[in-house]
Symmetry: C2
């Protein structure tokens, strides 16, 4: 079993680009990743690509080979779809293939085109990540689902809207240095609380935006990186996946994410670390409450205490374990299929010391990326470490 190195990363700007196709976006992200890596395209042996709603947004399925072509790569390509965890699953499979010696060099990433659908159209398209028969037909959309989860959390553990507001404020603050972020703009707690309600108790600033964008990673085996003198100081050392019942009504607890816990435990065991070793993490904050649930599922906060983490500064840039130094989905943006691989890119740069926010985690050696699908019916967690 070989180690897996992050040789290069590339992201498009995340934001409003309704005129850009997903192939155009992925071409940009993959070009950047190749340039960053120094790895020639000809060495790529397989492409792992995440996309969620291409069928609805672009009337385009079968995006695997299309994206290999967009990336200028002649290699077999597969599309992974696991709602908002699509490229997290692509990363997981890519890591396993390299680790097991199937491939030395792979291209991994994802893209999503969303804003061309408009807000109502994109919200309806996003809803296909929930159970069509039992949730969507009853009128459930994701803001509603996460609002139920937030209410359940408040009922069980306490906390309230102001605590969640601190999550949004923190993530916007972190995004100020991120040139690719959709919002490079600070916000105040009062603004969050005054924003229009989307689905009570969640307001507009509790939700991530709709975004277009792409992400790409060039991953290599340790042996390849050494032999070709590739500057790749960070390894992906752990991978985990979890699953849960699809519909909220089939779950025992609304305010817990067992799929993320399962994925986290598997990834930690795989890497031979425990939660206490984690110096920095990117977690899937599609809504502010989602960040809270992620922290608890990953054992970065005790159950019932994640709600105070941002407010009390434990997860801010200068806290013990900074969370979402990229700005998170909330401020960086959330082009669904691109998100999972983009989190790996951010953590990799944070650990390598090449991220604009690396100064906040100067001694960090271990980071985590947590990518979730739907109301966390799917989760992928990866551990990254500075290579010894």
């Amino acid at each position: 079993m070989t180690g897996v190195r992050v040789a290069g990363t590339g992201l498009t700007p995340f934001g409003n680009a309704p005129e850009r196709t997903s192939r155009d976006l992925f071409a940009e992200a993959s070009s950047a990743a190749f340039a960053d890596s120094g790895v020639p395209r000809e060495d790529v042996e397989a492409v792992f690509y995440g996309n969620f709603m291409g069928e609805l947004a672009e009337h385009q399925g079968h995006q695997g080979p299309l994206m290999a072509e967009a990336a200028g790569v002649r290699a077999p390509a597969t599309r992974y779809e696991s709602a908002c965890a699509s490229s997290g699953m692509a990363v997981r499979d890519a890591v396993m293939r390299v680790r097991n010696g199937e491939h030395d060099v792979v291209l991994v990433g994802g893209a999503e085109r969303m804003t061309n659908l408009g807000t109502a159209g994109a919200t309806e398209a996003l809803a296909i990540a929930a159970d069509e028969l039992w949730e969507v037909r009853a009128g459930m959309t994701f803001p509603g689902a996460y609002a139920l989860m937030a209410k359940a959390y408040f009922d069980e553990f306490g906390g309230g809207r102001e605590d969640l507001a601190h999550v949004a404020v923190k993530n916007h603050e972190n995004a100020l240095t991120n040139e690719k972020a959709q919002y490079q703009k600070s916000i105040e707690v009062a603004e969050v609380l005054d924003a229009p309600t989307v689905s009570s108790p969640l307001g507009l600033y509790d939700a991530c935006p709709l975004s277009d964008g792409a992400s790409a990673l060039v991953l290599t085996s340790e042996a390849y990186a050494e032999e070709h003198d590739i500057d790749a100081p960070v390894s992906i050392t752990g991978t985990g996946q979890g699953g849960d019942r699809m519909a909220l009504h089939d779950r025992e607890f609304l305010a817990r994410s067992p799929a993320a816990r399962e994925a986290g435990e598997e990834a930690y065991t795989d890497a031979g670390i425990d939660a206490g070793d984690v110096d920095v993490a990117e977690v899937h904050d599609c809504f502010t409450i989602a960040e809270v649930l992620a922290l608890e599922a990953l054992d970065l906060e005790p159950v019932g205490e994640g709600i105070t983490a941002a407010r009390d500064g434990r997860t801010t840039a200068d806290g013990d374990t900074p969370i979402n130094l990229s700005g998170g989905l909330k401020a960086k943006g959330h082009p669904v299929g691109a998100t999972g691989a983009s989190q790996i890119a951010e953590v990799s740069k944070l650990l390598a010391g090449t991220h604009p926010n690396s100064e906040h985690v100067a001694d960090a050696t271990t980071g985590v990326a947590h990518n979730a699908g739907g109301t966390v019916a799917s989760a992928a967690v990866h551990v990254l470490e500075v290579a010894k």
Copy 2:
């Protein structure tokens, strides 16, 4: 590296079932596979699921966890989408995971619901497997694409409609014993030639039907099968994947399938066999010409000679290398996401001696399954062998 055994297989009937959801179909197929295998559901460690057009047919994405639930399995689940090769890719990944020791027991399969869209709706939905910008907008659908490929073949190598008719006649003949087949009905060459033209030179009987259906496989490691005394006489010994440019106009030859050739060569090498060792195969005959191209890509026929294989009896049930003894996509049916895994089920039963057409291949030890996406921009090939 451990061997991978086919412990159980399950298929729904393929055909018209517009009222059945894909979860309903997959529940039936997976139940059958578990019953066939004797493996308890609790032992499943991961689910690999192929689906192509759920977003359009059922407004349902994120089908991985939904299908794990339908199968009564509590394990992480991922959906693979590679057009008509979706479950072929799911099988490939599942095989690699078991082989590399990541899992001992996995559930693999796929489903598709199509007929609820109607013929025009399903044809339009299928078109998303082609290039939306450069093919679909110009009016191309798959019958048109394969008609271009057939014309190019006739121009380059000769042959004609009557040769292709023999492919359809053969596959219908093979399906007579297949209870799950959409058409258990012989046809004559004259009927094929007299059928309405779909896209010249292809007529109605050159095309596979629209189908609803699901397939499931329980795969285990060799060690698990031995330890639990599972009756699993067939191994998957080779896996290969190929990719090509998406749009036909970007390819050098229309009448060749380099992605299938690449996948076949990889699978043969992986299994340590060559084409001469293949006793029986299921190939992706979405159109009659597709079977011809598949035979040549897999080196089962020399380039330019596949066109006469059915006509001259080399690929009929009593020929040297019977092809599509299940009836193929043509007569068995083609519920897109289910097809790849269903081919593995057929080859496995043919080799195990439990297929109604096993008598035609009584001494067979080696079989191949070939699953293609779009106009073969994606291909997955697997080699199965009677375990020693």
